[in-house]
């Protein structure tokens, strides 16, 4: 609200940022540190302001969270650190924390008069870098600059690594300690993730946003590749080094992968945790169904249509998600056009796979073709597999089944596994839109999901993202469930829930997701959406859709999408599974999700349009398919892929939905994902 200048010596804002460029901190540092204080208590606000000024910081105070967020958004590099109260009337402090973490990747310090262990723990899980108990003493404020330095340091470290990789050697980033970086990133996963989001890692991601700083952007495709690699390796065995090799992406560093992996694991964990836990999840689980329902209702996707198209699994899902997401995109800070959504899905799919990793089924690297035109026969199998995975998902998937009977049941089942994580997402009908977002990142608003879906459907799915898309939706869906708020965060569906298999793993994940969703996981439950989609969409078609996740062979049909979604379904799908390391995945997932978002954003916007008609279909199909894929059953996959779903149609349908339905999704996509409720089912 008021920019205050520190007395005297403060360097201007610009100078305080100078130090970022290099490791050397300017002499004046920490003087001039730009702090944003958010608290609804005016007394406390004034006191803090004075204290911070005394520390020679540049203070801006704000008594409303919304205002603070808009200030941060307007001026992305305007602040170095944020201090926020926990209890605020207009927005929960943790929600704000998540938003900031996802959108701006700034260190956030929470404070409260409440020093209960639960609350403090919540701060930790949501990613706060510190928690102060009121009354706040000036001594405590004197040291807050350490958080800023720490974060920067980690970012730069990653950047440097990427830089070296860019020589073309990325694969063998033999990082001396893969594990080290993983654990090191653990604490900063958010940071690195964010960083990655911004950084353009590979050439593949042309559409990704341009770098402002050297950050890795985990685009949908990239994420799908990631998920595929993880699936291939097996969730438990996936180590950054190997993943990096498998991915074979120039410019990607092991650290990038490591942090992404963490997020993904967290995401997966959240998905599974969430699905299991919450009663909500159950209700949500059905959410998968619900989401599907929502999805269908959202854009009037006609699962049947999708099913007909068959092959549009990934794409449709993507579109669906995108559609769903699209709506929410508006909300999210990340303006993810449909296109982006697709990306999300792509990511999501891989993520979904992660979840499925549990299931193991997926790990078979079978291309997520599950969805592709797999004839209904597949369904039964998939259903079975789904069931397995769906354990955690429970009702969610089932609900999806309601949709179609067999096909739907399949989906449901599939969705279930996926939905675990997704369950969160599913909870809200809006999930569908959410899925995309959830998958990629919390940020990924529904729009993104849509985008993702679109992508998948469109053909980009060739990367297999298609598959991801589907599942992600489911995962995403589940996401919403849990938390009303966190859709965005939790949606790590992308990676974590390769769809179905993840479900189990997700159970735990979901739980986490719930709590974490808010915070940060940021993996949009988009996965769930997919699941739902899949489920709803068609029973028989599901299989086809599944392919969506697997490979968005969309390329086959949905060429319009082209580009971003390159579906390497099998890879992606598997990655999703294998990497469902749930425990750590969530984090990665979220990272991926985020990346996806960015990726999605970039994704061909133009394509999205094509998709709209198809998207819907795609989404539907995708979701369905994804589910199918998640079932490790190999059989399903192969068959699924064979079919081509009318990706184009799906995509367009999805797109349409997105555009139309996204509105509802919007709410979901608010980073906080809390808005799930708003999404009209």
């Amino acid at each position: 609200m008021n920019q205050s200048n520190c007395k005297g010596s403060m360097s201007t804002a610009s100078s305080s940022t100078n130090w970022k460029a290099n490791d050397v901190v300017p002499d004046q540092f920490p003087a001039g540190l730009r702090v944003l204080v958010v608290d609804d208590d005016p007394t406390c606000l004034v006191i803090l302001e004075k204290m911070l000024r005394t520390c020679l910081y540049e203070v801006t105070k704000c008594n409303r969270a919304e205002v603070a967020l808009s200030m941060l958004r307007e001026n992305k590099n305007g602040f170095d650190i944020v201090i926020s109260d926990v209890h605020m009337p207009d927005m929960d402090g943790f929600k704000l924390l998540e938003h900031i973490g996802l959108e701006m990747d700034l260190p956030v310090i929470m404070m409260s008069a409440d020093d209960g262990k639960q609350v403090v723990m919540k701060g930790v899980t949501h990613g706060a870098c510190d928690y102060l108990i009121k009354p706040v003493r000036i001594e405590a404020l004197k040291n807050i600059w350490q958080h800023v330095v720490r974060k920067k340091k980690n970012e730069w470290k990653d950047l440097e690594q990427s830089g070296s990789v860019e020589e073309g050697d990325r694969q063998q980033k033999l990082s001396e300690d893969v594990d080290y970086s993983s654990s090191a990133n653990e604490g900063n996963w958010k940071n690195s993730k964010k960083r990655k989001d911004e950084e353009e890692e590979t050439e593949d991601r042309d559409d990704t946003s341009t770098l402002k700083k050297p950050r890795v952007v985990w685009s949908v495709e990239l994420h799908q590749q990631f998920v595929a690699a993880v699936n291939q390796l097996g969730i438990d065995k996936a180590v950054p080094k190997k993943i990096l090799e498998l991915m074979n992406v120039p410019g990607l560093t092991r650290e990038n992968v490591a942090s992404h992996l963490q997020k993904y694991r967290l995401y997966l964990r959240r998905l599974s945790g969430v699905s299991q836990h919450q009663g909500m999840n159950n209700s949500f689980m059905s959410p998968q169904d619900a989401t599907f329902g929502a999805m269908s209702s959202l854009n009037g996707l006609d699962l049947q249509t999708l099913s007909v198209t068959g092959q549009l699994p990934a794409q449709s899902l993507a579109t669906l998600q995108a559609a769903g997401l699209g709506r929410s995109t508006t909300k999210s800070s990340i303006p993810m056009p449909l296109v982006d959504q697709r990306n999300l899905f792509s990511f999501e799919n891989p993520k979904l796979r992660f979840g499925e990793g549990q299931q193991q089924q997926m790990s078979s690297n079978k291309p997520m073709n599950l969805l592709h035109g797999i004839p209904t026969t597949m369904e039964p199998k998939q259903l079975a597999s789904l069931h397995q995975s769906a354990q955690s998902i429970g009702s969610m998937n089932m609900q999806v089944n309601t949709h179609g009977g067999q096909g739907s049941s399949l989906l449901m089942q599939m969705a279930q596994p996926q939905s675990r994580g997704q369950i969160l997402n599913e909870s809200t009908s809006s999930h569908v839109p959410r899925l995309p977002s959830s998958i990629g990142q919390p940020i990924m608003t529904n729009g993104i999901a849509g985008g993702v879906i679109g992508r998948n459907g469109i053909g980009d799915n060739s990367r297999g993202t298609g598959y991801n898309q589907v599942p992600p939706s489911s995962s995403m869906l589940s996401f919403p469930m849990n938390h009303t708020t966190e859709l965005a965060g939790n949606s790590f569906p992308l990676g974590s829930t390769p769809g179905i298999s993840n479900v189990t793993s997700k159970g735990s994940f979901q739980e986490e997701g719930n709590s974490e969703m808010k915070g940060s996981a940021g993996f949009p439950p988009s996965y769930d959406i997919f699941n739902d989609l899949q489920q709803h969409q068609h029973k028989s078609h599901d299989w086809e859709l599944q392919n969506v996740g697997l490979h968005f062979d969309a390329s086959q049909n949905a060429n319009p999408i082209q580009g971003n979604l390159d579906v390497s379904p099998s890879v992606l799908v598997h990655q999703g599974y294998s990497s469902s390391q749930r425990s750590g995945q969530n984090r990665n997932a979220s990272a991926v999700g985020r990346a996806m978002f960015s990726g999605v954003e970039c994704v061909e916007q133009g394509n999205m349009q094509n998709f709209s008609p198809h998207l819907n279909n795609l989404l539907v199909d995708n979701s369905v398919r994804v589910k199918a894929e998640t079932i490790p059953d190999a059989n399903c996959q192969t068959t699924l892929f064979t079919e081509h779903f009318g990706q184009d149609d799906l995509m367009s349908a999805l797109l349409k939905q997105q555009q139309g339905g996204i509105g509802t999704a919007e709410t979901d996509f608010d980073l906080d994902g809390y808005s799930m409720d708003n999404i009209p089912v």
């Binding site: 609804d40 208590d41 007394t43 009354p135 706040v136």
Partner: protein
């Protein structure tokens, strides 16, 4: 002469606040923040606190009128009030708030109302000082919050914690 006496009196009063547990260390932090650039910092902060807490107390009062009591809401108000009070260093008020919240949690309306009596008095006293509520008896304090007197104090003693602050915390 008079000024010196007033200063002394003020200092004594201030010390008594600490001794009686009305104020705690946080208040000293506030005092330390005051400097030449912000000579009336403490007074400003306390004024802000008064305003905010009056509003809160009003809300609490209204909430207490309801039947049945909305514990959640009351708890929220209390939490806010507690937060403000701790930031200022109003130890006793903080303790009262905590206790009030306990009652809220227990859902013990009976207890709350009882507790409320003396608590309200304390608060009312302070608010009254601002002319916002009618005075009530105070057991702990005979200090009359006389605005004019306080202002006189403020003018006369530069840099001393405002008399207002002292009085207020006598709640």
């Amino acid at each position: 002469m008079e000024r010196i006496q007033m200063r002394r009196q003020l200092a004594l009063m201030r010390q008594s606040f600490f001794d009686q547990g009305f104020l705690d260390e946080q208040f000293i932090q506030l005092e330390e923040l005051q400097d030449d650039a912000n000579p009336n910092f403490v007074e400003e902060v306390v004024t802000l606190y008064y305003r905010d807490s009056s509003r809160l107390i009003l809300n609490i009062d209204q909430a207490l009128e309801r039947n049945p009591l909305d514990f959640n809401k009351l708890d929220n108000y209390m939490h806010q009030f507690k937060g403000s009070s701790t930031s200022i260093g109003a130890k006793k008020v903080k303790a009262e708030c905590t206790q009030f919240r306990e009652y809220c949690k227990a859902g013990n309306s009976e207890g709350k109302k009882d507790k409320l009596g003396p608590w309200r008095q304390h608060v009312a006293q302070g608010i009254d000082g601002r002319g916002q509520k009618k005075k009530q008896d105070l057991t702990w304090q005979n200090i009359v919050i006389d605005k004019s007197k306080i202002h006189t104090f403020n003018h006369q003693k530069n840099g001393c914690p405002s008399g207002i602050t002292m009085f207020w915390f006598s709640m």
